[in-house]
Point group: C5
Chain length 365, copies 5
């Protein structure tokens, strides 16, 4: 059994823990998270209504140059690999980002967060998905944007934003016309939309478990239910703060949000609300699975007990009767009756019939 559930031991642990750092100095940027061997990459997409320019694998100087000298473009700076603390703090200090913000970006165990500064806004949330080995992955994702650029900080490469890149490239919808706040909205929306896929995976897992429990409780196990509980709690913890933060966005009066974008953020809030409601419903359902499981086991037990009781109740008296006539007393008158043996058989068959009738009446089978 342990072989099929190795995940209970190790990977789940990650989701509830922040590496304890005894000497952590506040404001000192430190990477908190698993080790990674990917290189840090900075890609910049500069776009306006007429043109899109791609600068992949930029140096930080190039980024600064773009941001400073190309005000006619909006720049989407995609910083992939937040474990490179040096690059991160260099970029941060050149663009005047508060050290605590950079610390929050490098700390991949940071909970979702919204910080509105005078001239820029910081938003951190989680991309959550199941990887190919069905492990729940929570990737930390940070956004910093002001009037002219937006920086997205990621732990690793992701396909979640490809659709947005396409929309920019192909000038689909309003994305090229609108300001950076619309791109800001679009990126968060992509993350939240992805939560629907997560919900579906959870839904499927629940249904699979339910079906197996109904069919035969021994096909499921308590540890699977516990694992699912943990998964839901872990998702809940990552998603619920986002709800609150998007509501903050919605009612914020920060000048960076355009009035026309507000309608989209309201829509976004609606989506995250739907996600959180579903998570809570799944939670209740999974909590109920344990009861189903126990009920299923009890039914099985009852069935086993009935078989035992029926067999014992029928044969124990018969065996006793046979035992009686196996006694060696000198004088046992029945033994000498010629048809005695057959009379005993008759009595036995009668007893059996009566007991079967009794069990039938009790609806035991």
């Amino acid at each position: 059994m342990r072989k099929t559930l190795p995940s209970l031991k190790h990977p789940k642990r990650l989701s509830f823990k922040r590496k304890p750092i005894q000497n952590q100095i506040p404001g000192k940027i430190t990477y908190v998270g698993e080790g990674t061997s990917e290189d840090t990459v900075i890609n910049v997409i500069s776009y306006n209504e007429e043109k899109v320019i791609y600068n992949n694998n930029c140096s930080i100087e190039k980024v600064l140059d773009l941001v400073t000298h190309e005000p006619q473009f909006k720049h989407w700076i995609n910083f992939i690999g937040v474990h490179d603390v040096e690059k991160l703090s260099k970029l941060g200090s050149l663009l005047n980002i508060h050290p605590l913000v950079l610390e929050d970006i490098a700390n991949t165990k940071q909970r979702p967060k919204l910080d509105e500064f005078e001239d820029y806004v910081f938003f951190a949330l989680k991309m959550i998905y199941h990887n190919e080995t069905d492990l729940l992955i929570k990737n930390h994702f940070g956004l910093v944007f002001n009037k002219s650029y937006i920086i997205s900080f990621q732990q690793s490469h992701d396909i979640i934003f490809n659709s947005i890149r396409e929309r920019i490239h192909n000038k689909v919808g309003r994305i090229r016309i609108r300001n950076t706040d619309y791109l800001f909205y679009a990126l968060i929306d992509a993350v939240v939309d992805n939560y629907y896929n997560l919900l579906e995976t959870i839904e499927e897992k629940i249904q699979d478990l339910e079906e197996r429990i109904i069919e035969d409780a021994s096909k499921a196990s308590t540890s699977e239910i516990q694992l699912l509980k943990r998964e839901i709690l872990s998702i809940r913890k990552a998603v619920f703060p986002a709800k609150e933060l998007i509501n903050k966005l919605q009612i914020s009066k920060h000048p960076l949000y355009d009035k026309s974008t507000k309608a989209y953020i309201a829509d976004l809030y609606d989506h995250i609300l739907q996600v959180t409601e579903n998570i809570d419903i799944y939670r209740e359902i999974v909590w109920g699975l344990m009861d189903m499981y126990m009920g299923s086991l009890s039914i099985k037990m009852n069935e086993v007990m009935k078989v035992l009781t029926i067999m014992s109740t029928i044969f124990i008296p018969l065996t006793f009767l046979a035992g009686i006539y196996g006694m060696n007393f000198d004088y046992m008158p029945e033994l000498n009756i010629k048809s005695g043996y057959f009379i005993v058989w008759g009595i036995m068959i009668l007893m059996t019939a009566l007991l079967i009738f009794y069990f039938r009446k009790k609806k035991w089978f």
Copy 2:
């Protein structure tokens, strides 16, 4: 067992899922929901105190014509079949409805919603009922109204509004005299009134389950209870947001709501409150059913065990005694006593009597 519960697998799934659309562009109207083969139909009822005119199967141009050139009428435009996104967006753009509203109308997985714009109001909620195969159906239903017309968007034909049509036709009550806000109220009220039928179905299902569990736990199953739980959670999710929204309606100061209509909306709020309170009561009761079920199984088990124990406890010692006198020792003095056999019978009957007395005293039967 699985044959009687196929519904656990498939149809329930629908209620918790929104089709994941990777490239969904915000504000782009996309139909989200099951496929349907019905044609989209637009029926318009134009009425005022004196007259009612019916325009069934209107073209969009006709609708626009009516709305623009017949200001002496109030127009109820019934748009059936929101899957026809093209017609929907054409109508929307001609009547100046915000694209996000149209998106919410076409997305049948959208949660209930109220959006008050300067010159019109959008309200979306769910019609919920059990279809003829006892499946829970949740139909998305959107309302848009302004001073001169009201548009109701439905997924398919419904009988729920027939009574309102009759009231308009027969000039029953105040509906012909009042403004569109009263019709707006009346349509929502019809949907909420229908929730009472839903509650009754749930009530009956609960009672049926309760009775079967009390009679014989094996007549019910844990999966039925789980199914009922899911159904209640699903209804709860669709109805509870409506409560909040109707409260918003109640305290809204939007000029489209007439003061006299406000009293009716307060009444409506009262109804939805009663519905939600009942749902929560059903929830508690259904959650308690599992305990009843387990208790019922335990009682049965106890009964089975008692039968086994009584039979074994009586006959095992007797069989032992018979076994003793079945031994073949050369010298067993009892065997030679003439009445030995009958003495053994006497001892056996005495033992049985004592054990029965003991069980009686313990109140085992």
Copy 3:
């Protein structure tokens, strides 16, 4: 078992249901509730500090006459039998009561409600009691009062207000001196005071169940616990809105409430608070009963199993031993030993003693 619990099936249903009325027109007064054959009766008590005049079985015209031409009296109009919708709406329209209020009076499934109009106040709540067959009865009770009169609408005759009638008749306390708002308070207080009797009945039922479960779980049944749960939920639903409403009364600034009456209303709020707190405590206790029940069953089961195990464990090996010496092998040396039979008996007694000692050490009996 079903014979003792017929109530689970039918009467409970009533408390959770409102008759579904497809074509119900808002503001149209319709009686919702069980049929009744009692005649509608209107009794008026007109009183002031000096005099009390009784007008039993008044016509509506008489009521109007009294209210209009006898301003020196305060009039308590007791309308018994709200099923007579015609009389109700006639009285209502003559006294200028809003149609929605009349609808709420006639709908006996209406939840408790407070509506403060400019010149009168409407309050609806529930009288709850167990009838002689121990069924929970919830009677809808409506109050309308203004400066000069108070109308109490009841479903049927009740003894609950007799004490108030006596106090008016005998000039006990301040009731004759004070305004109608004091009578209004006194009537609500009488209803709330009666809830204490209800609590006591529930308390007794719980104690009875608890004692039976402790004594012998088989004397109670899961359905009784479920029934009690339902009863408490049903009471809770009827009483909790009242708490909220009395709080509203308490903080209301409506000119009809005299300042000196406010102290009494605060006191009333205190009482209803105590009632609701107790209901929630009963709820927790009843929810705990199921656990007690299951525990009680488990103890019983353990006991049964121990008896079975002890008997089997003692006698099965003995029977085996007897079986050994019942074998018919040609050469079994023990059989020829003279005292073999007695040695076997000795071994058997020794084995039994050892097993009994073992069970004693395990504290099985």
Copy 4:
């Protein structure tokens, strides 16, 4: 078992009930509580910085005289025995206390309450303790104070305030210098401090139960757990309103509270907060006891079942084998083999060894 739990039946009932009084007139002072034979006693301690004067067993006239003619003293009037409604109402009317306050003092089932009048403050709470027979006693305790005196109304004599009397007598701390509001605070503080003793008793009861359940579930009983639940719910009900009220005291701007006393009240609030937090923790722990109990029973059951199964599984096949060679067929070749008997013994020992090996591998013992 019933003999050890008589308390479940009767005394608990008291704590959830208010005597139902059909004709109770609001504002009419009526004693609600158990009968008592103690005489009502009024003791007055008059003190200021220089002097303390004791007047035990005062008449009401004496009290009035003291209060009116000795303004240089602060008077602590201790009224013991609130069942003497006559004396109570006489004192009340002479000192101008509102009849509803007097009613609340005489009603010992009244929940904790704070009423701030223009020139005096009324506070009622509960002294709770276990009496010598381990019964939970809740004594109603009322305080009325103004600038010059404080009246404490008790149901019976109590040792809880002795320490305060000593502090007044011996001029310990600031009590003699400060105003009546400080004494008011000190009296409430004494009551709240006493709750800590209560918590400790509960803590000990829980630990005792826990230990017994762990050692052997049959040493505890479900009814004990239920009793403890009830006790905690009953305490909770008496203590929680006090928290809210002390918070009200804390934020109140009534001129009777001196600014310097406010710091002490804040401290008091801290204490009551700690008490309520602990009560909720005990609640969770006690609710968990039932699970422990059931788990403990299940473990025991498993153990019993294993013994039964092991014994049966070993001896039933052996008995069968012995039965085979006890058959009386004319031709059974094994019987004639000389060492047949010993071979059978060998087979039996082998079978037993294999089964024991199997159970060992399954870790059954």
Copy 5:
């Protein structure tokens, strides 16, 4: 079993109890907590941007001297050993600290607290960790700071602040430049950071229990789960008030907090939020463990029952058959058939095969 769980009895008790002190006078400083034999020590670190001066084992006079005559330094006064009430009150009165604050410092059972006075701020919280014998230790920790100094009151020596001492010594980060409010923040941050270690220990305990339950329920015990529940409740009680207080700090407008420090406090709030969220998740998981445990026991029981039933069901009928032919009737025709014995064997093997086939079909093994 009791030997391995002695901790349930004694040490846990501490965490829920405050020593009951009958005569405790408010504002009189009394040590509440376990006895300790350590000496009270006062160490002062005086630092500014240029210099750090250490004064270990100061007298109170020295402290006063430093604070009064060295305004160019910020002083961190570390008072270790709050049980020395005399020293504590002397220091307190010399530095003008309110007696109630000193009482709260000496009462190690005090809940976390924030008190902002005009010219100083008092903050009390708990250091929590598992000691070397795995006991949960909660050390009370108080902070008082004003413009020029900060006093930290501890129960005993701790290594938790070593990192801060190092940062001061080595001028790491901003700590030497900033005001006392930054040190105040840094000390609280060190305590909160330490909670992460606590969380990890809890996480490990949960995982260890989970794994043991999954492997074999008998390796875990209900008392372990109960113990873990208690531990989490105890931690919860100590940590949750801190959340609220840090939020208060965050929104406080007290002039002692520098604006630049506010950002750090916001960060601190984020950390404590993460801690409390995790505690609640652990709570849910541990509460679920009991279910897992019961499920695990049930599975085991089912398995045991199946073995018993299979063995009994196979051998009881066979034994009966053997018993039949062991009877001593004079005329039993089968006995004389030559191959009778072998036919019986054949029948027995056939019966066994059928039963095995039946159990296979039922998937019992």
